[in-house]
Assembly symmetry: C2
Homo-oligomer: 206 residues x 2
Amino acid sequence: MNTRARARRGEGAHLREELLDATERLLAATGDEEMVSVRAIAEAVGVSPPAIYLHFPDKDALIFEVCAARFAELDRFIEDAAAGVRDPIEALVVRGRAYVRFGVENPEQYRVLFMRRGSARALTPAELRETAAFGNLVKAVERAQQAGRLTSSEDGVRIAMELWAVAHGVTSLLIGVHGFPWPADFADRVLRTYVDGLSSRADTSS
Amino acid sequence: MNTRARARRGEGAHLREELLDATERLLAATGDEEMVSVRAIAEAVGVSPPAIYLHFPDKDALIFEVCAARFAELDRFIEDAAAGVRDPIEALVVRGRAYVRFGVENPEQYRVLFMRRGSARALTPAELRETAAFGNLVKAVERAQQAGRLTSSEDGVRIAMELWAVAHGVTSLLIGVHGFPWPADFADRVLRTYVDGLSSRADTSS
DNA sequence: CCCAATGACTTAACACCGTTCAGTCATCGG
DNA sequence: CCGATGACTGAACGGTGTTAAGTCATTGGG
């Protein structure tokens, strides 16, 4: 039944890659973390279930690594979207919109990364802040501050956290609450309204 | 081992109540839906596992009913918080803050209601819109509109959805991403900034 | 050149899970 | 008093993640 040929002596890492690939495929196909069982992954690769434990400490680590890989793509996706936007305020909206879109298009990965129980493996604060995606958001906020479009008296990181929370709120609802009559421009509206609010903070301080 | 005395002929519904109580207790104690197993619930009540299926179609229905009951309390909690607030804009912020606090204090129930996979049983749009909590939010928005503090040209329901998304974003991150240095006034900041943004929409239309 | 060591994996099993089916047993209406 | 029925139990099914022990080919060293 097992189609796969056993790897050579130094090449055990091959299986590791195949496991990651198969898991990603199954996760995308089922859209449900719990349906991607260890046995299903093993069968997809053509290997016995315990073989997985030679390369990952547990199922969580495997799933998480797959989703974290997607997260790295998120940064590129956002940067590409914001690349041509000159206005620094508009750029914040565009970034948010890209974030939401990415989350909606990779719902299960998004769920694993940001909607899980805290006890499970999750992105640590350190990982998150050193993440390109978050770091670039902070930079984008600071550009808007330097352009005088946002208050400079506030921490750019804090404002970035707020923008994250808003974009996450939209993403999370779109993913989690199906069938609700969300307008097509929902994300856009919410993000724009929020940066409006941020701008009016700037007005009062200047 | 089973301590419970079998119910009398017409009184099978007693067990139903006990099951709901035990499930709520276990959910609060463990803070993890998946750790509250059918067998654990049954043992807590002093009954065999299959007895549960005489009163609920499946485990999901039992868990969901417990969480939905909490959701009903949410409305009262929010109304109490907003009761004494005269300013209709401030009232929106206060409502949002109460929402976030309630979610953070009942994280697992919140997760079940709003952070689950769509395929699982969830609040339907109809249920949600007929919910007291959402209906009262819409009314609060409309009061602000009638007071001329928000645009009247927009649908109150849409604005309510936006406020919900913002409050949900904060709640969801506070619940899901532990250890991140969220400021103490995070919810307050975000909510206030958002209603600021909504107000400035009103300015441009007037 | 052969053999012991080791890396890569398998087989079997454990303890749990949600759920179903067939049975038991006390109570109640006639 | 007895058959029906409501309330529940015991045993089992197919699934889950995970572990312990065993197999087997390859490979570096004597």
